[in-house]
Amino acid sequence: MRQLIGNTILPKVIKPVRYEGNEWNSVHKEWDSTPVKIAFAFPDVYEVGMSHLGLRILYHIVNSREDTLLERVFAPWVDFEEKLREIRIPLFSLESYKPLTEFDVMAFTLQYEMSFTNLLNILNLGGIPLLASDRDSRWPLVIAGGPTAFNPEPLAPFIDAFLIGEGEEAIHEIIDVIKKWKQSPGGYQKRELLTDLVRIPGVYVPEFYDVTYHADGTIKEVVPNVSFAPAHVVKRIVRNLDTVDFPTGPIVPFTEIVHDRIMLEVLRGCSRGCRFCQAGVIYRPVREKKPETILQQASTLVENTGYDEISLTSLSTGDYTCVQGVLESLVDRYGPVGVGISLPSLRADSFSVELAKQVQRVRKTTLTFAPEAGTQRLRDVINKGVTEKNLMEAVEGAFRAGWTGVKLYFMIGLPTEDKADLDGIADLAYKVVDLGRDILGSRFGRLKVTVSASSFVPKAHTPFQWVPQDSIDTLKEKQHYLARRLKHRRIVFNWHDARLSSIEAVFARGGRRVAAALEKAWQLGCKFDSWTDHFKFDKWIQAFAETGIDPDFYANRPFGKDEVLPWDHIDTGINKEFLASEYEKAFRGETTSDCRYDKCTDCGVCQKLPAAVDLKGGAVNAPG
C-alpha cells in the first residue's frame, strides 16, 4: 500500500511529505496484536492539524496504553484526493497506511465549524457511511470532541458519540468500554456499546435524545428517549494540570507546519470574561501548572525533539501568575544553547511588552495586540478589560524597544456597534501611526500598522449566544467604510470574508436541522471552506435552498431569552443565568471583573464541577 501510494500518487502531488507518516517520535505499533485501534482525524491539512496541541496530547495518552493504538488522519489536499478517487483507494492512516474501515474507532477533533465539510469528506473518502443510522457495529464507531463539540447538534446525525470537554481522562474510560465490547465473544450490537458509553460522564450520544419543535422552528424541547441518558451532559475537566499526562516526546514533522516549535502548555482556561469568547467559558476554571513542572517538561521536550524554540502556550500566557520567573529560568537555561522562547498571545499592556522584550532574540518585527473594539464604550460592552491607555503604553513600549510593526486585531459587528465604534478603530490606528512618527524618528519609514478586522460570530455558551449576527451586507458596508478610513501608507487593513463568517454563524448556532444543509453542501462539492480559494458561497446558498434551511433563522435572528437553545442540554458548568446576566450587563455597558483578581463572579463552574481555580503564584501580576 505504502509503495503503491509512493509510486503512483506522491510524485504527482504538492507537498508529498504531508503523507509520509514516519516522522521522529511517531508511534508505530504492531497492528495485529493491539486490541483497540483508533484513527484520529483532524479535518484539515497536515500542517494545520499537526499544530494542534490537543491532537498531540491524545496521541501521547492513548499510545501510552499497551492495548490501544492511535494513528493520525488528515484531510488530504484536493490533488491527493483526486488521485485517491481516481485509483479507487480508500483514505488511510498515516502511521500504518491502513484503511479507515479497519479501525475500531474513527475519532474527530472539532476546532472550528468550517471544518465540518472536511469531516464528511474524510468519512466518505474512507468508505464509511455518513449517517450514524447507516452504520452498525461492523463499521468504526465515529466519535468527536473538541471545543466545537459544545454545540454538537449540526453534526448529530453523523456522529455516534461526542465527548464534551477535556479528553485526557475520559478517553481512557471510552477505550475501556470499546475494548470490553470488542472482546465480547458473542459480538455486540452498536446500541449496546452506546448504552455503555453514555454512562460515562461527558459522553453525549445524539440518538438517545429527541428534539421537538414549535411551529415557528424554535425548539420545544430536547429530552432523552432512554432512561439511562442524562438530561444534561456535563463537560469533563482535568483537575490538576501538574499530574495529568502531557506529551514530552511529540512528533517532529519533516515539513514545516503552522506552529513548528515545542508547544508547552502553561495554564488552561481564561477568566477575563470577554463576552464573545467561547474558549473563556468552556475551559473554565483557570488551572495553572507549577513552574517546576514547566521547567521539567521543557527540558525533556528539548531533549526529545531537537526543536530550537519553546512556545509557552495558553489562552493568555501573560496572565500566568509565575510567568516572569519561568521566563527568566528558561531564557537563562536555553539562550546559551540556541533555543528561543516565544509567547503566542499577549495582552495589550506594557507588562506584556516587558515580557516580549525578555524573550525577543530575533530581529524585532511585529507585535500583535487585540483591543477587539474601537471605543471604550464598546470594549466595556464586550468586557474586554483593555483601555486605550493600556494599548498606547504597550505600543510605545514596543516602539521604544525596537519593534517597528504593530498588528491590531478588531472585531466588527459586535452588539451595539455604531459608526462611532468604527471611527474608533480608525482613530486608534492613526494614533499608533502618530506615536510611531514621534518615537521611531528616522525609522518611521519602516513602521507598519496592520489592522485586522474579523466579523463577530455569536457562539454557543457565551453571553452573546442570543445576539444576532450582522447581515452580510451590513458587515460588508462596515468593512468598506473602514477600508476607506484606513487608507494610509503606513496602514495595512485586512478583513475576513463576511459570507464565510455568516455560514460559520449558522453552524455555531444551528440545531440538528442544519445537518441536512451541511450534507448537501458537501455533496455539492464544498470542502476546505476556511481556505479562501475553496470557499464556494453559491454552493452553500444552493444547499440551504434545496434543504429548506433558512440561514438567517440561525445567523441573524435574535434568540429569545426563554427559547430552548439547541445546545442547552450540553452543560459547561457555567449557569445559563450567569450568561443571561452578563448579556444584560453588556447592554448596560457594565463590566465584570476577573475572579482571579477580584471576587467570585458566581458563574457556577467551581460549584458544579470537581475543579477549582488553581493559581500557582502568590502575587498577581497584572490586575486587569
Binding site: P16, N22, W24, G306
Partner: protein, 231 residues
Amino acid sequence: MPRARIEFSKGDRVRFLSHLDLMKAMARAIRRAEIPIAFSEGFNPHPKMNFASAVAVGVSSESEYMDIELQHEVDIKEIVGRLARAMPPGLDIKGGRIVPDSTPALMAEVNRAAYHVSAPAREPVNREELSAKIAHFLSTPEIVIEKRTKKGLRPKDIRPGITHFRGSVSGERVGFLLGTVLGSDGSVRPEEVVGAFAKQSGLPIDCDSLYIRRISLYTEKDGKQISPMDI
C-alpha cells in the same frame, strides 16, 4: 574550529523530503544528539552546517555529505554514534571523519553526481535498440532542452553536463545509469537527461513516473575520482 564530515543516506521512505526539510531534520537530530555544533554570530544564530549538494524532492540518495563545525574537538566515533541514534527513520548515518581546517567546503569540492533512474515503459523496449539509441544520443554534439527559469523557457545544451549514460531493460521498466556534472557551471539534472533521451529516441518511456536514486557524489580532478570522505 574542528569540523566533522558526515556521510548519510536519504532512504526511499523519505525521498519526498525537500532540501529544506532535510536541513531542518539534520539540525534537530544534531540537537537531540547533543553535538556541540558551532553557531553563527548575529541576531539569529544558526547552526553551522554545510551540505555537499541539495537532493531534489522525490529523489533518494545512497550517499550525501554534510560538514558540521564544532565548538571543540569531539571523538568522531562519539559523534557518529550519537547522531545515528538521533536520526529519523529513513535518514541513516554511514560514517564520519574529522577533516582539517583547510579543507575546502563540500559544495566547492564536489562536482560530479551519479544516478540510477528507473522508468516504466509503455510498450516493451528492445535491449539492442536501447543501446543503439543511447550511443546515438551520446554522439549528438548538442542536446538542447527547454529549461524553465524565472524568465520563462530558456534553451540549454545539456550534452557537456553528461559524463556517462547507460541503459538496461528489466521487465516492463527501463533502467539508466548516468553521471552528470554538478556545480555552478551547468549542473544537469537526471530527469533532464532521461527526458531528452526519450524525446530524441522516440522510445515509449513514461517520463512522468521516474524513480530516481542518487548513487554517488564525488570530485573529478585530474582524471581521478575522489570521494568527499577521502579528500
